[in-house]
Symmetry: C2
Subunit: 398 residues, 2 copies
């Protein structure tokens, strides 16, 4: 089992078995988290501690490095592992304090696609939004339903979220819509996949080839204004109810750090069409935690998700739509069969009917101004123990 | 009335009253079309024929120039007008032959939003897709319905369109979906608006402030696979049925060239909410033409559109979603009340039931491999006469 010489890093969730990438500090340097510290990769590149022939590691974003593909990702990861495990490098590696380093959005978001791949989430929302019909629509078990979100409002963890205003669903079907600030502001706990290597127009990707394209995983909070969404979403889907803000973690976990988290996905019935078929399908065993003002309000299990990340990637490219470096696709809200596994407030409070009580004794149906939401997750690490993904932090401004 | 010394340009649709911007040639120079020629603005900048203190006009895209705002756009336009009208500049301006210059996508598309703002189009599609209910959904007259499309598959005019494959609507409701190439490949004739000046998170734009943000207008063909779309689109809207390709014109018409095309929009009933209210609302009198393999198949009038470009901009920002330089928003299919004014094949052939006959005697319901579609438009020019927008050209590859 590899250990790091960085004090306190082993077993911290940000040990040498993790090594997520971010962009830190006023000069926007690429860094890798290790314990309570960050390795400055721009400095490591200049000091020739890591191979960086094209200087991609000195860029202010991960874009060029992500575009270079799995061989480069792997060799850089191996070199950083050596630097942080071999005490001989102790004096040459520049470490920055992680607590005080400002995190930036680590890559340029190209397109943002949001799936809807949790069976329990889709069933719960179907029950609430369409109470008089089957909760799952006929297409749901045949394809991973998705839509495009707004790439320009994907913000890094720590960015405040301004409560959106807009047209809200009328009080009764024959009434006009109501205008004002959303009073049903919600979260969605999701898992995002960041594309490094793009494709050509007309090309499609099979589920088994995910690792040739996906650079890493970032947790996502897909903030949602339910009252705006409910009024606008027919027939073309969510728009302003989602487009005001989406938060992502400042740290991208490399796919390689999640090898031990691969898990068998749920059985799919009916069996999917060929292009969605994977001989060796896998989900990810991520134990997600959602805290609201410090209270643990939900613990969704990502391993329960019906459609796998590989199937999602295959589906979004089967029509020949090209991928670009920086594309982000998210799982959709992760909800499990148990009440405490629901990844959104609309599910946790059942459409606002059953408020939840926080540790400070106050109740919530939806988010109030000043509320802070933190989404994080842990996953099995390669050498045993667990790594920590996230956090995705956001506070509501009125 | 200002005239140009460039031979054949006056009254050509690309006269001195138009001056659209594009990016041309192997070196990707910004250029302005004049008659059958192009003024090389990179050369004009280097030769100090136009003021370009920051060198934005020597960039390979319009991005930086677009971000600079209306005062810069106006002064550059005035200088180009002087260069092309004053014969003293005849020997100093570098003209390139327009016919042989390759056109590139002239700007980096940030987010792409597609509206659904033609009353006749929404009514026609409602009748076809939901024959048993009111064609217009309850929200339609209260807000300009829209969704996000895929920015990474917006291509410049002249790019071939690869026929998409995917899951298609089952033959009957209890049947499984069918997989294969789309057999209902369609066009949508639209008008696109290109954002130059962005906004801050939380900011919204009033309809009257459109000209502070929108750089210009580009025609759009929003290719659509109806069989894929019909199966996937509930409940989150169009995804793969649209995301394979969207074509835009290689020439962006500056908003200023469309001053004489402003027209009074249709009366709105019910009156819109305050944030959609414009004291001096305007649409654009664009006479669109759609040719399929040389046959004129449709003549939509953009002036008929229910929701105005200003209202669309106000709506997409009312929730505080920021705009970025390069955002593209399109009108949605432009259809009029007359059969020959329908901007899509699904409307022109009424869901494929009434084929149209082309000049070569062949019939079409939807697009066949090798088909070529050309969308163009004319608009009243400031000094009389008309200017020509487009073309948006695309050919289907099987």
């Amino acid at each position: 089992m590899t250990k790091s010489w960085v004090p306190g890093s082993n077993g911290s969730g940000f040990g040498i078995d993790h090594l997520p990438y971010g962009v830190v500090g006023p000069d926007r340097h690429i860094g890798v988290a290790i314990g309570d510290h960050i390795v400055d990769l721009a400095a490591a590149s200049v000091d020739r501690l890591v191979d960086d022939p094209d200087g991609a590691l000195t860029d202010p974003t991960l874009d060029r490095f992500m575009a270079e593909g799995p061989d480069r990702w792997q060799s850089t990861r191996e070199q950083i592992t050596t630097l942080l495990s071999d005490e001989n490098h102790k004096d040459s590696v520049v470490l920055v304090d992680r607590g005080s380093a400002g995190l930036h959005l680590p890559w340029t978001v190209a397109d943002y696609v949001d799936f809807y791949s949790s069976l329990d989430h889709a069933t719960n929302l179907g029950r609430m939004f369409r109470p008089d019909s089957e909760p799952l629509l006929p297409n749901w078990r045949h394809l991973p339903v998705a839509y495009h979100g707004r790439a320009g409002t994907v913000y890094v963890s720590g960015t405040d979220v301004i409560r959106p205003a807009g047209q809200k669903r009328p009080q009764a079907p024959d009434q006009p819509p109501v205008f004002g600030a959303s009073s049903r502001l919600d979260i969605e706990a999701e898992v995002g996949f960041v594309v490094g290597v793009g494709t050509e127009p007309g090309e499609s990707v099979s589920p088994a080839d995910l690792a040739d394209h996906v650079f890493g995983v970032s947790l996502v909070n897909d903030w949602s204004a339910r009252d705006i969404q409910a009024w606008e979403y027919v027939p073309l889907g969510p728009f302003l109810g989602k487009s005001f803000a989406t938060s992502v973690a400042g740290w991208i976990t490399p796919l390689d750090a999640l090898r031990a988290a691969r898990t068998e996905p749920p059985t799919q019935d009916p069996p999917p069409l060929d292009y969605l078929n994977d001989k060796d399908p896998w989900g990810l065993d991520l134990a997600i935690e959602v805290h609201l003002n410090g209270t643990l309000i939900s613990q969704p299990q990502f391993g329960d998700n019906y459609w796998t990340p590989g199937q999602q990637l295959a589906h979004m490219t089967i029509n020949g739509a090209r991928l670009r470096t920086g594309d982000l696709y998210a799982s959709g809200t992760v909800s499990g069969p148990e009440e405490h596994q629901r990844g959104s407030l609309i599910e946790l409070t059942w459409n606002g009917e059953n408020p939840i009580t926080l540790d400070d004794g106050t109740e919530r149906t939806f988010l109030e101004d000043g509320d802070q939401v933190v989404i994080s997750a842990t996953a099995p690490a390669v050498d045993g123990g667990r790594i920590t993904l996230g956090p995705v932090v956001g506070r509501i401004l009125g």
